[in-house]
Every structure is written in C-alpha cells, then in structure tokens.
C-alpha cells in the first residue's frame, strides 16, 4: 500500500534503510515460513482467528515492548549486508539518484517526491501482485506529481503488478487507469474502461462530475455544478442514494434502492456498467 501523506506514513525516528529493510525482512521471513501466522504467501494471516487480548493483559502490558518479547526475529549479522544490498536495489528501482546517501537519511531530510518514492519502494519490496495507492500524489507539486506518475506507470510493467489507484483527481485517473470505478455514498455507481466512462458516462453522478471540472474561462459562462453535497453516510436518503441531487430522477428512484451494476444501455462497451435504471437517459441529461 502507498499512502496519501508520505511524511505521516514513514517513521520519523528511523533511517530510510531500516524502514525498507524491515519490509524486506518480513518478506524473507514469510517466504521461509518463519513468521508466526504467515505459513506461506499463499495462506495469508487470518485476522478473524487471532486471539483477542484480554483486558488484564492489556493493562499489565509494558508501555515500551522489550526487544526480547518481539515475535519478529532480527536478521543475523551476515544477512544484514545482503539485506542492505536488496534495499539499494529497490531504491534504484524507484529511480532515486545516489541511493547510498539516501540510505542513512531520515524521512524529514527528503523532499516530498523522494519520500513518496521511498514509500513506493517499501510497498514494492513485499513483491505484491496488487499495489493499492491511496492518493499517492495529492500532496505533491504538479511537476513532481508528473514524475511520480510516470515512475508508477513504468514500474507496473517492470515488476508486473496491478495498481488500485484511489484518487479524486479526474486528470490523474485519466492518465493512469485502464478501467475506472466511480464511487458515491459507499457504492460503485459507474464502472468500465476508462475511455468509455470518461467520454460516455452512464450514471448521472459521473456525468455531473465530469462536467463540473473547471476547464473553461469565466467569459464562457458559468460552470455546471451539482446542487447539494454528499449525503451523510449515517442517514442515507431512501431509495437510490443519489436521487436528491439527480437531475433525471423519477418518482420510483426515491423508493427503489436502484439496481446493482447493470450493463449500460446503448454503451459502446459491454464492460461498461452503471448502477442506474435510466442509464440511457443520462445521454440527454440537462
């Protein structure tokens, strides 16, 4: 996983090398089946079967865990060098210049773009088949964002991983994604290949979203905007969650919770799904 704010998700008290080495070390343990609960990469740890701590244990637990009690075995001296070589490999993979210097630095000594690269290195060092990136570039400047996005695209083919890219930036998604899902109030409402969803949105929310992107000058007239705001998830509206803001809502939308994803009517791709009975009407939406 690559998180939103690299400064908050890296430990400020550890050097870069230790943070990447930790991830690699855990993978080594997992691969050799030494880590408790992780028998093999194919049988992931079942959190539901974990022993829940008892209140008494929690209260008597020392605040600072002592090293001896740690479940994770520390690497042997000769393994450390091997580990370090692997860390360097990952730093080179994410195109960090001069990785030998970066090794000994702390997160605060790196720039935002560098920190995000380190985060990507940590995420990749577990050799994942799926990388979940939660707004990985929202905290970065535009020119740095372009660099990180290009890197992620290149890495996808290089290390052969899929990416689930979570973002509110329509531009970034257009650039990165093959397929896109649009979420509203806890449901995916529109799903399909990225060019189909962008050019021919089949859910009224997607359509409204696409149109409210400011891509014009004020002399061209007002921006179309969607009235209202996202509903409170505690008190969802009845029926289709989008109907109070939907310009093409019909009376039944306020009662019927709306369909699960259906193939969009008349869409040019059969893989384009929308959670709306009236996906055909979206075309003529005011």
């Amino acid at each position: 996983m690559v998180f939103q704010e690299p400064i908050n998700s890296l430990n400020p008290a550890y050097r870069i090398k230790d943070q990447i080495a930790e991830a690699i070390h855990i993978r080594h343990l997992r691969e050799s089946g030494k880590e408790k609960g992780l028998v093999s990469p194919l049988a992931p740890y079942d959190y539901s079967k974990r022993d829940l701590p008892k209140a008494a244990e929690v209260l008597t637990k020392p605040l600072v865990p002592s090293l001896a009690k740690r479940k994770m075995r520390l690497p042997l001296e000769e393994d450390k060098e091997k580990l370090l070589r692997e860390v360097l490999e990952y730093l080179r993979l994410v195109r960090i210049n001069d990785p030998e210097t970066i090794l000994g630095l702390y997160p605060h000594e790196l720039s935002g773009g560098m920190r995000q690269r380190v985060m990507i290195a940590i995420a990749l060092s577990g050799r994942p088949s799926l990388l979940i990136a939660d707004e990985p570039t929202s905290a970065l400047d535009i020119t740095i964002q372009a660099q990180v996005l290009t890197l992620m695209k290149e890495l996808m083919t290089e290390v052969n991983t899929s990416i689930l890219f979570i973002s509110h930036d329509l531009g970034v998604i257009a650039e990165m994604a093959d397929a896109v899902g649009v979420m509203y109030a806890g449901h995916i409402v529109d799903l399909g290949p990225v060019d189909h969803v962008y050019q021919d949105p089949r859910h009224p929310y997607t359509k409204a979203l696409m149109r409210s992107v400011p891509n014009r000058y004020k002399t061209d007239g007002p921006l179309p905007s969607l009235p209202g705001s996202v509903p409170n998830l505690v008190r969802l509206p009845t029926g289709c969650t989008f109907h109070p803001r939907c310009p093409i809502a019909r009376p039944q939308c306020s009662k019927d919770p709306g369909p699960a994803l259906l193939p969009a009517e008349g869409a040019s791709s059969s893989q384009h799904l929308a959670a709306c009975y009236f996906s055909r009407d979206v075309l003529g939406m005011p």
Binding site: T143, P214, N215
Partner: protein, 348 residues
C-alpha cells in the same frame, strides 16, 4: 494605465534562519530564506489576478504581505497609491476593512467554539460598536451572498459541510464590504462538484460587487475559471504575468510550459508522453545568482546562470511579461513540442 488598487513594487520578504552561537561568533554569513524576492505586481479595481506556483514559491507569503499579516523587509506595497508598509497600529484599521482574506484550510481558520454569526460578525465588531441584534441582522444579510441560507446563523463550524465552511470563510471576508479579497487556496480542500459551486459563487460575487481578487493557488483549473490575469511564481520571483487566456494557451516561460504540460487533464485522448522537468524545486536559502529556474530548465544557456532575467514584454505578445532571456526563441514552441527529446534550437 489607471491607478492600480494594489501595487507591489519590488516587495521583498526575507526570513533569517536561526544561527548557532558558534557561527555567530565566527562571523559566518547568516542564512536567509528569500521567500519573496523583488516582486512587482498590480491588481486593478474589479480585477481577479491568479497567482500560481508550486509549494515554496512564495505565493502565500506574497498574499500575507499584501494583507499585512507579514511585514515586508523591502520594497513598497501601494494600496490606492498609499504605501501601506509604513502604516502602523491604529492607523491600519480603516485600511484593514478594504482587504480581507480567505484562508487555506477552512477547518483551522474558523474558531470551533464560535457560532456562524459570531464568526462573520467579528470583523464588523472590530470596526466599531454595534448591538447584538444589529449585528445578527447584518450577518443574516451577508450569509446569502456567500451562498449560505440565513437560518444557519446559530450553527457551529463543525455543523457545516466542507463547502459550507469555505462559504462561511468567504462570508467573513465579505462582512466589511472590502475592495480586495485575498483567496489562499480556496478550493483545495473541496471535491470537484463542490469546488464548481464555490468557483461559480466567486465569479458571481466579483461581478455583483466589483470586487478584486488575488487568487493564490496551485490549481490551474480554478485560476483559469476565476482570474482575468495570471501571474506565475517560481522561487520567490515572478516568471510570467499576463491575461489568463494568453498565459495558459501561449505560455512563454519554460517553467510555465512545464507546469502546464505536467498538468493531468481529464481527457483520455490527451494521455501522451509529457514534457517533464527533471529535478526538484531547489531551496530558497541563499539562492544562486542568475535565473532561479536555470537548474531545471531544458533551455539553459550560460547567460542564465549569471544574469538574472527581468520581467519584460517581448514582441507579438503585448500585455504579457516574461522573465526569460530566451523568451523570443522558445516562446512560440507549443508545449507538445517539448515532449521527449528537448528540441534543438537553431543557434543564432
């Protein structure tokens, strides 16, 4: 040109870094952050000026200087022809009325323990005595202008949505009927649909009240929609200033070109390889002489590293100033041509 509402003349803000005692005793040169370093910018009456740049370019500092939240360390800031950098204390109060600010983060810039009417009413109270009933009536008049229903008077900030909070901030800025509003990243905390509502509201207010805006943001789309003119800032200096359509469609400065080319556009067809500037934004601590962008610029020549380029008008682009030695040569290259290999320019 008519007299500008606000004009900065070579305004400068240096932040000295703390120095260890040993360094002071040894008489070493002090490190200084050049946050804003000789910026001259005008905002006309009724005009919206967008100020774009990456973080650390000094755009927020410039906004704070114009609002006198920071004191400048050099240069002049003229408001309707009067230099406000010398005005002090009580004399500032009538001027404060004219310049209001909307801050970046609506959560931390609104007091969570004050109700909406108190938040919006506070600047009015600061200007002179007023009864509570009068104040509430006055605030109830202001709230609809910012797009809030008048019955939200007694709500606390946490009871508003993100967009609502930003509108509350806007209502506070409108309370004194100012001439200039400085908007610091007004939409960066909002999602796309709500952002469109706020931007529409800003444009409507500008038309209805003849307001001037200084819109500080890294969101090019917001600037495109709200601003009449745009200024691009890089490391404490202006790189380019001009009418919004001119600058965004025919950028002259290599940095502006890079910035616009790096912008992800929500159109699938545009996803081509893009012109990338290599390297990162350098620090503002004791910057080297010459052009600030020289270290990352693909068109750098020896002159750029020695001689500081000044903002100037180049032929065929009136009203549009750019700080680049080679603007004539590279100005007309479209950003698409900058993709991939850096084009070789004919050596003149």
């Amino acid at each position: 040109m008519t007299e500008a509402l606000v004009e900065t003349v070579d305004v400068e803000k240096l932040f000295p870094l703390t120095q260890s005692l040993a360094d002071t005793l040894a008489g070493r040169e002090k490190h200084v952050i050049h946050a804003v370093d000789g910026v001259s910018l005008q905002v006309q009456k009724g005009e919206a000026v967008g100020l774009i740049g990456e973080s650390g370019s000094g755009k927020t500092t410039l906004g704070w200087l114009i609002a006198r939240l920071h004191d400048s360390t050099g240069g002049k800031i003229l408001f309707e022809g009067v230099d406000i950098t010398k005005v002090k204390g009580r004399d500032l109060r009538p001027w404060r009325k004219e310049v209001q600010m909307v801050f970046q983060d609506p959560v931390s810039s609104l007091d969570p323990r004050m109700r909406a009417w108190q938040i919006v009413g506070e600047p009015i109270q600061a200007q002179g005595p007023i009864t509570k009933a009068q104040l509430r009536a006055r605030v109830a008049e202001i709230l609809p202008h910012a797009g809030l229903p008048a019955d939200t008077l007694d709500l606390y900030p946490h009871e508003f949505s993100g967009g609502g909070r930003q509108r509350l901030s806007l209502a506070r800025a409108l309370a004194l009927d100012p001439k200039l509003i400085i908007l610091d990243e007004p939409t960066s905390a909002l999602d796309v649909a709500v952002q469109a509502q706020v931007l529409n509201r800003l444009v409507k207010l500008q038309r209805d009240f003849g307001l001037s805006y200084l819109l500080i943001t890294h969101n090019v789309a917001a600037v495109r929609y709200v601003a009449d003119r745009v200024a691009v800032m890089y490391l404490g200096r202006l790189a380019e200033v001009g009418p919004v359509r001119e600058v965004l469609e025919h950028p002259l400065h290599p940095y502006t070109k890079a910035l616009l080319a790096a912008l992800p556009v929500p159109e699938v067809r545009r996803r081509a390889a893009r012109y990338r500037v290599s390297g990162e934004v350098p620090t503002l601590i004791n910057p080297p002489p010459g052009c600030r962008f020289a270290g990352r610029c693909p068109f750098v020549i020896d002159r750029c590293r020695v001689e500081e380029p000044l903002l100037r008008v180049i032929p065929n682009h009136p009203n549009h100033t750019v700080a680049c030695h080679r603007a004539e040569e590279i100005g007309d290259l479209p950003p698409e041509e900058l993709i991939g290999e850096i084009p070789r320019l004919p050596t003149s």
